[in-house]
């Protein structure tokens, strides 16, 4: 037999590529002639028989031998027309005719599905569409089987080549979750485990993702083997879609996908595709950081364009000091000075708010959070040992980045000519050079009022009849810091919610007023008096008293006699200046730290002045700030 054709086969070979025979005899020819033809070519699987050039069927070598093998078979069939033999064959309607383009493996499946006695009959292939086409040829069943074996071997080799070269990890599991022998080489690399065939999928998982995830993974496999489940409609609950895994001591990110492998309608196996996506996850994280930086930079540009250049310059210088002091606290692990540092951060946050520098304000708020937790730690001997100022480091580092970015943006603007005024560090201060000082103080307070009142839903307006010229330059920075706190305080705590104002018959628009008065004579000669007043609910003395008691402060008791009661109330009012005092129940960006009024008090004190609160329930709250005239003016 010519077996050369086997060497030419490939995994997709068709029956048309197999050796085939097209010998035909007419039904009227003698049986002896069929015998001669079959004897002449021992490979011939049979002949096609025709009548008047129309194909009627096939007499295979097997059928011929069966008939002539009978008693007197040769004597009966050889001398007579082969029609007799043809009519005696068992192959009537069971002829298997397939197109020449049929793949070998499909043809084998069809051939093997024939009745048991006819399995070895030759296969008939047709080049055309019609069965009685003259192009009918016969293929020996044994050739077909040999071709099939060859092709299977080729496919297996191809499969193992694929499995050993693909980057993706492929493996198959059966309904018991046992891993099949065919899996891609990469699986071993990804799991850093050799020879995984025969192991349960969960057991393999458990070593790298832990019990809980492994159990979920196993549960998900059960879901896929559950015939009631719609495969497409469970992909969202794949617990291994992205999973952190510890492999050979390294943290990796793996992605698992699952695909049912159907045999007919039953779910025989589930194919698992596993990929190491560590790099992708890392890149995505890096990208997110980049995007955040870009977003920040854009936000910074807007902040810078909005801010007054002189104020921005002052802010950046103060920020530099705050960062430096913070770094010193961290380096020396100092506990003293934490309170003062806290106040300086809070003050700077106020300035950031005043200048609309949202990013700085947010990060300074975060830094405050850290400081609060440090302060709380120190307040209890049990946790004081755990004092670790390095928790401030990320905030400090971010602030420094923001400050550097701001300076570089300012530089770029200046080079482009967009910023005319001096704005960077080290630029000469305008309060010494320019005659009219900082024209932006009231304007920026107005802006802060607008921003806060919108954010908190309490409409308010800032009024003043005074001019900024009335404020001596050395007082300006101080007033700027103080006004931030007072405005904030008024809008957050003082002004009532709209419904309440309506009920009380007050104008819905809250009023915040500021006035400057010089005292050349009278009770405080040589002093300047600043008054800030809102028309809110006034100080809630009860709440202050209560909160002060909770904090363990000494609280003057309301006296029996009226005059004492008034004195006691005045004393209670002063409690609001205590460090860390707040009646707010939670900390927000706007209130609740209890640092604001403390800061006002400390700042005024520093300049040798004093501050007096005034309040009438339901009507107003005012702060009278009296500062000595600066010597220079």
């Amino acid at each position: 037999m010519d077996a050369e054709f086997l060497a030419r086969l490939h995994p997709q070979s068709t029956v048309g590529e197999l050796p085939s025979y097209a010998v035909s005899l007419d039904l009227s020819q003698k049986g002896q002639e069929l015998a001669d033809v079959l004897q002449k070519d021992p490979d011939l699987p049979g002949v096609v028989v025709t009548a008047d050039d129309v194909v009627r069927g096939v007499i295979s070598r097997g059928q011929y031998l069966r008939l002539v093998g009978r008693y007197l078979g040769l004597e009966v069939y050889h001398p007579r027309p082969i029609r007799l033999m043809f009519e005696a064959t068992e192959v009537d309607d069971d002829l298997l005719v397939v197109p020449a383009t049929t793949q070998v493996q499909a043809a084998v499946r069809s051939a093997l599905s024939r009745p048991r006695t006819l399995v070895y009959e030759p296969l008939i292939i047709s080049g055309g569409r019609r069965i009685d086409d003259a192009s009918l040829r016969l293929v020996d069943f044994q050739d077909l089987l040999m071709a099939d074996a060859r092709i299977s071997a080729l496919r297996n080799r191809q499969m193992s080549q694929i499995l050993s070269t693909v980057q993706e990890g492929f493996l198959l599991v059966d309904p018991e979750h046992v891993i099949a022998a065919e899996y891609s080489r990469s699986v071993e690399d990804i799991f850093a485990t050799p020879a995984i065939a025969g192991r349960r999928f969960e057991d393999l998982l458990r070593e790298i993702v832990g019990d809980e995830r492994a159990r979920l993974g196993g549960g998900y496999l059960d879901t896929l083997f559950n015939p009631n489940v719609i495969e497409k409609l469970v992909t969202q609950i794949n617990p291994l879609l992205r999973v952190e895994a510890t492999i050979a001591g390294t943290m990796k990110h793996l992605a698992f996908r699952f695909l049912r492998s159907l045999e007919g309608s039953s779910i025989e196996r589930v194919m698992v595709k596993v990929e190491d996506v560590t790099r992708e996850v890392e890149l995505a994280a890096e990208l997110a950081v980049q995007e955040e930086r870009t977003r920040e930079r854009v936000a910074l540009v807007f902040d810078i364009l909005r801010a007054d250049a002189g104020q921005l310059s002052t802010f950046l210088r103060d920020l530099g000091t705050v960062i430096q002091n913070g770094e010193t606290l961290v380096r020396r692990r100092e506990r003293r000075g934490l309170g003062a540092y806290f106040r300086s951060v809070h003050g700077l946050k106020g300035e950031a708010g005043l200048l609309d520098l949202d990013l700085f304000q947010g990060e300074l708020h975060a830094l405050e959070d850290r400081l609060v937790s440090l302060r709380d730690q120190l307040s209890s001997p049990a946790t004081a040992d755990l004092y670790d100022p390095t928790v401030m480091t990320p905030s400090l580092r971010h602030l420094r980045q923001l400050a550097d970015a701001t300076r570089s943006i300012i530089d770029q603007f200046r080079r482009l000519g967009h910023l005319q005024t001096q704005a960077a560090d080290g630029a000469p201060e305008r309060e010494n050079g320019a005659n009219d000082g900082d024209p932006g103080l009231f304007e920026s307070v107005e802006r802060l009022v607008a921003e806060l009142s919108e954010r908190l839903g309490k409409p308010a307006r800032f009024h003043t009849r005074s001019s900024e010229h009335d404020i001596p330059p050395p007082h300006r920075r101080l007033l700027q810091r103080i006004l931030v706190q007072l405005v904030r305080n008024s809008i957050v705590h003082g002004l009532e919610p709209l419904e309440e104002r309506q009920r009380a018959g007050k104008p819905l628009l809250g009023s915040l007023q500021f006035a400057v008065r010089s005292h050349d004579e009278g009770p405080a000669p040589g002093h300047i008096e600043y008054v800030f007043q809102d028309d809110g609910a006034g100080l809630d003395l009860e709440a202050i008293r209560r909160r002060a008691l909770e904090r363990g402060l000494t609280v003057p008791a309301p006296g029996d006699r009226e005059s004492f009661a008034a004195e006691a109330d005045d004393a209670v009012k002063m409690l609001i200046f205590a460090s860390g005092f707040s009646t707010a129940d939670e900390t927000t960006r706007d209130a609740g730290r209890g640092v604001g009024l403390d800061l006002v008090h400390a700042a005024v004190d520093e300049l040798g002045g004093y501050v007096v609160p005034h309040s009438q329930p339901g009507a107003f709250c005012a702060f009278q700030i009296i500062l000595p005239q600066p010597e220079a003016s």
């Binding site: 549960g219 998900y220 879901t223 489940v229 409609l233 969202q236 609950i237």
Partner: protein, 122 residues
């Protein structure tokens, strides 16, 4: 075919109902908790069910179990926030055919309902 929408949120019930593009769904029933869902199921035997998991008066898991006891071939699609993988797998183990996570788009619901209709036919 009839569809029973089970969710304690009116907004979600409306959104699911709005997403129906299936010509084969001819009737819609609505329930705001598991107990009511089981009662409606017993009475009307809808072929399709969408089921929330966290609800008052018998949660989704309990309702799935009860409905599958009434009709072992009920086609139930869970539409719920994926709070826990374990709970999602439990819902499937109790007899849900699929799981769509909230928040969803109307298109996602429409496609899932198509799959559910096909599954109910098969």
């Amino acid at each position: 075919m009839k569809l029973l929408i089970v969710d304690d949120s009116l907004i979600v019930r409306n959104a699911i109902e709005r997403s129906i593009s299936q010509g084969q769904i001819t009737g819609v029933l609505r329930a705001e908790d598991g107990a009511r869902a089981v009662a409606l199921y017993r009475e009307h035997r809808p072929e399709l069910v969408t089921m929330d998991l966290t609800m008052p008066h018998l949660d989704g898991l309990g309702a799935i179990t009860a409905i599958r006891e009434i009709e072992p071939n009920a086609s139930i699609l869970v539409i719920s926030a994926l709070n826990s993988h374990a709970m999602a797998l439990e819902a499937i183990a109790r007899g849900a055919c699929g799981f769509l996570t909230k928040p969803f788009t109307e298109r996602e619901v429409a496609e899932a309902l198509d799959d559910l209709v096909e599954h109910a036919h098969g």
